[in-house]
Amino acid sequence: MVAHDADAERASPEETGRRRAIREETARLRALLRAAGTDPQAGFPGSAADWEARLATAEELNARLRASEAFTARLLAASRDSIQVLSLDGTVQWLSEGGRAAAGRPDEDVIGTPWAASWQDGDRVAAEVALAAARTGRTGRFRAPSGPRDAPRWWDVVVSAIQGPDGAPERLLAVARDVTEAQRAEEQQALLMQEMAHRVKNTLALVQAVAAQTLRSATSVDAAMEAFNGRLMALSDAHDVLIRGAWAEADLAAVVAGVMAPHIDALAGRFSASGPAVSLGPRAVLTLSLMLHELATNAAKYGALSSPAGRVAVTWALSGDEAALLRLRWQESDGPPVAPPRRGGFGSRLIERSLVHSFGGRVGLRFPTEGVVMEFEAPLAAMQDGISERS
């Protein structure tokens, strides 16, 4: 069957090798018959039975040829590829059912037209180059779109020579495979790589700023080291929370839980968090995590979490028209008496500046004797920026 396919595929429009063999065999038989009629002495190379056998062979060859052609037609129809036979100058001579479906036009609009012209401007050159390669017996290959500009199909196109009986290219075969899905996946991958590179750079810039700010306000190298590590871990925890939401969003409760987790041993029953389900965007998650980390660290050193009886409550609510405003409150109580910090360190600067600046909100950080209070409100839309980016 393999030999059939190869023969049949080579030139369905015209004479195949098998057809030629039959024609030649028939001609030889006719010549023998003629010789027998004119010269009885010439003699048949064989008996009548031989003749019967020869004719039977010819008929069988014919039957096999028909079956082979029918099979070839089914084979070509079964292929999802767009298969076209071109003349050496690149004119379309024949196309498979896949080719017809890809063209989306009646055969008569395609057959007789230059194949390269069916590709869009920039790809026409690639098509011509592929044709030139095929004419010299090599394989031409390119990838190009076709169809509507807003939703093109992408094709992996291979052009090769169909050899004539003498082995020289007689016609060209253009097979285009639909690789739209692969193309989309590659584009998506390239986009993701670019996005990741952007994020890594931004993260490095953020870490750089945290490091520099930590060093600016540190009293000693050891203190700077400890503070920086804590901040880096807070950012790392915030990343974990974000990755769970495919870096698109995170629930506020999860963000609060992530920040407080390192303190949780000391917190049994002394920490509470409550509020409605609120999704936050990546930027808000990072900023809020750093802020809450500063508050928690401060509380563990000097505030409510530094004494066994102290408590911390984090509460939040949505308010305003259409719940467009997020209000969050950090409240410490039952800890040692609070003394306001002498100078604004990293934490208080971050809280006072970052949130207001980044999200257009308002923030209040107060140090009443009974416990530190931080309250902020910010437009929910600003805190949720980035959530829709993924869709």
Binding site: H198, L206, A209, L350, R353, V356, H357, F359, G360, A382
Partner: protein, 144 residues
């Protein structure tokens, strides 16, 4: 950099305001991330600049309209809160205030062919603070 005629050893040493300017050059920083802005503002203030801040393009334009003494604009690209990104702001500023040099800072690889206005400089994030200060001093001096 050694061939840069604008950079003299004395500048590099004191790192202070350019001798060409009497007062501290006024730079407008446009950056949506509060922490990055805080650090950049500290860096530039220490280097002798007077720093004005804006979290997004619209606020930056308001500052430019009210402060004719702004000598330099340094802007981030992605600023979701404003009505335009940093590239659009850079182009607008270079048209409306052609005397103000523009620096665009971003974590994205490099700007597209039509993103930047002519003459503007692109600085990738993260940047070395000392290089930023040097670039800003050079830029102010060239514009003077």
């Amino acid at each position: 950099m050694t061939s840069d005629p604008d950079r003299t050893p004395s500048d590099a040493q004191h790192g202070g305001p350019s001798p060409a300017c009497d007062a501290a050059p006024v730079v407008l920083l446009v950056e949506d991330d509060g922490l990055l802005l805080m650090e950049a503002a500290d860096t530039l203030a220490e280097a002798g600049f007077t720093v004005l801040e804006a979290p997004h393009a619209d606020q930056a334009l308001a500052v430019l309209e009210s402060r004719p003494d702004v000598e330099l604009l340094m802007t981030d690209v992605d600023m979701p809160l404003g009505s335009m990104n940093g590239f659009a702001l850079a182009r607008l500023v270079s048209r409306r205030w052609p005397r103000i040099p523009v620096l665009v800072v971003s974590g994205m690889g490099s700007p597209g062919p039509h993103d930047m206005p002519p003459g503007a400089r692109f600085i990738p994030k993260p940047y070395a603070p000392s290089a930023l200060v040097r670039t800003l001093h050079d830029t102010v001096r060239r514009a003077a």
